[in-house]
C-alpha cells in the first residue's frame, strides 16, 4: 500500500469518525427536542433512506412515503436509540422493516385481487406494478437493469434485502449483517443464493425472449 493510499484511507477513517461524532451530537440534541437537529438529520440522510426504500419497493411514490415514515419513526422513537450501532445502521433497519411491511401488505392485496378475479369481478391485473426504472442506472443499461429488478422482486425476502442493500446501496457485508442481525457468513450465503436464483430466473427469461 502506498503512503498516499494510506493517507487517503486515514482521512476517510477520520471523516467517518467525525461524521459519527456529529451524528451522536445531533441525536443527543434531537432527544432534547431540538427541531433544527431533526432538520439536519433529515437533510443529510434522506437520500440514504430513499435509495434503500426505492431499491426494495421499486416504486418512487412508495419509496417517498416510506422515507417519510422512517423519519417520523426516528422523531418519535429517538429515545430508543442507544448508540450501540451507527445511526445510519439504525436508519437502514427502520427503512428495511417499513419497506418489507409495505411489500407484505401489497402481496396480501395482490392475493385478494386474485380472489376477486376468480369471482369474476374484474379480470385485469391492476395490482401488478409496471416495469421499474431506477434513476441511478446508466442509460445504456436501463433495459437490462429493469429485467434484473423484475427478477429481484421474485426473490425470497431475506435474499432480496441482502442483495439490494449490497448492490443498490453499496453497503459492505459487515454493515448488512448488523442491519439484518445475522452473521457475516449468513449474509454472504444469502447473497450467493440470491445470485444463483437470479441467474436461474434470467435464464428462463432469456429462453422465452430469444
Amino acid at each position: 500500500m502506498s503512503i498516499l493510499e494510506a493517507e487517503r484511507l486515514m482521512t476517510e477513517h477520520e471523516e467517518k469518525l467525525i461524521t459519527r461524532a456529529d451524528e451522536s451530537y445531533l441525536v443527543e440534541r434531537l432527544k432534547k427536542g431540538d427541531e433544527s437537529a431533526f432538520k439536519l438529520i433529515v437533510e443529510t440522510r434522506k437520500d440514504l433512506v430513499f435509495n434503500t426504500a426505492l431499491g426494495l419497493l421499486q416504486n418512487a411514490e412508495d419509496a417517498e412515503d416510506i422515507t417519510q415514515e422512517v423519519f417520523i419513526k426516528v422523531y418519535e422513537s429517538v429515545h430508543q436509540f442507544k448508540g450501540e450501532s451507527a445511526f445510519s445502521t439504525w436508519l437502514y433497519k427502520i427503512a428495511v422493516t417499513k419497506s418489507l411491511e409495505l411489500i407484505r401488505s401489497r402481496k396480501r392485496k395482490k392475493r385478494f385481487a386474485f380472489i376477486t378475479g376468480i369471482l369474476g369481478e374484474n379480470n385485469e391485473l391492476r395490482h401488478d406494478p409496471p416495469e421499474f426504472q431506477h434513476p441511478g442506472v446508466q442509460l445504456d443499461n436501463r433495459e437490462r437493469a429493469a429485467t434484473l429488478f423484475n427478477s429481484i422482486s421474485k426473490l425470497p425476502e431475506n435474499q432480496r434485502v441482502a442483495f439490494t442493500l449490497h448492490k443498490v446501496e453499496g453497503i459492505p457485508y459487515q454493515e448488512i449483517s448488523e442491519i439484518m442481525q445475522l452473521s457475516i457468513s449468513a449474509v454472504e450465503s444469502l447473497i450467493h443464493r440470491a445470485k444463483n436464483n437470479l441467474r436461474k430466473d434470467l435464464e428462463i427469461y432469456y429462453q422465452k425472449n430469444r
Partner: protein, 104 residues
C-alpha cells in the same frame, strides 16, 4: 451450444447492469412535505390501533385466544350439563324409591 453461450452472455451482462449505478435522490422539498405530514397528524390513535390489530400475528393471536375461550366455555358447559343430568337422575331415583317404599 451456441444458444446456451449466448444466453449465458446475456445473463452476465444483465447481472452486471447495476454496476456503477448512482444513488437515487429524495424528491425536492422532501423536508417540507415531511413536516406537513407530521403536522397534519393523519396517523391518529385509531388508525394506529387498527393498523396494530390488522397485523397477521396480532389478528391470529386474538383469534386463537377467542377460540381457546370458546372451547373452554363449551367444555365447561358440557361438563355442567352432564353433572346436571346425573344429579337429575339421582334425584329421580331417590324420589322413585321414596314413593314406592312401604310406609313404616
Amino acid at each position: 451450444m451456441q444458444q446456451h453461450e449466448d444466453i449465458q452472455r446475456q445473463i452476465d451482462l444483465t447481472m452486471g447492469s447495476l454496476d456503477g449505478m448512482s444513488k437515487a435522490e429524495a424528491p425536492a422539498f422532501f423536508y417540507t412535505r415531511l413536516m406537513a405530514r407530521m403536522e397534519s397528524g393523519t396517523d391518529s390513535i385509531w388508525t394506529r390501533s387498527l393498523a396494530f390489530l390488522a397485523r397477521p400475528a396480532v389478528a391470529l393471536s386474538i383469534l386463537f385466544v377467542f377460540l381457546l375461550i370458546n372451547g373452554y366455555l363449551i367444555m365447561t358447559n358440557l361438563n355442567q350439563q352432564e353433572e346436571n343430568i346425573q344429579q337429575d337422575y339421582v334425584a329421580q331415583q331417590i324420589s322413585y324409591f321414596d314413593t314406592n317404599s312401604p310406609n313404616p
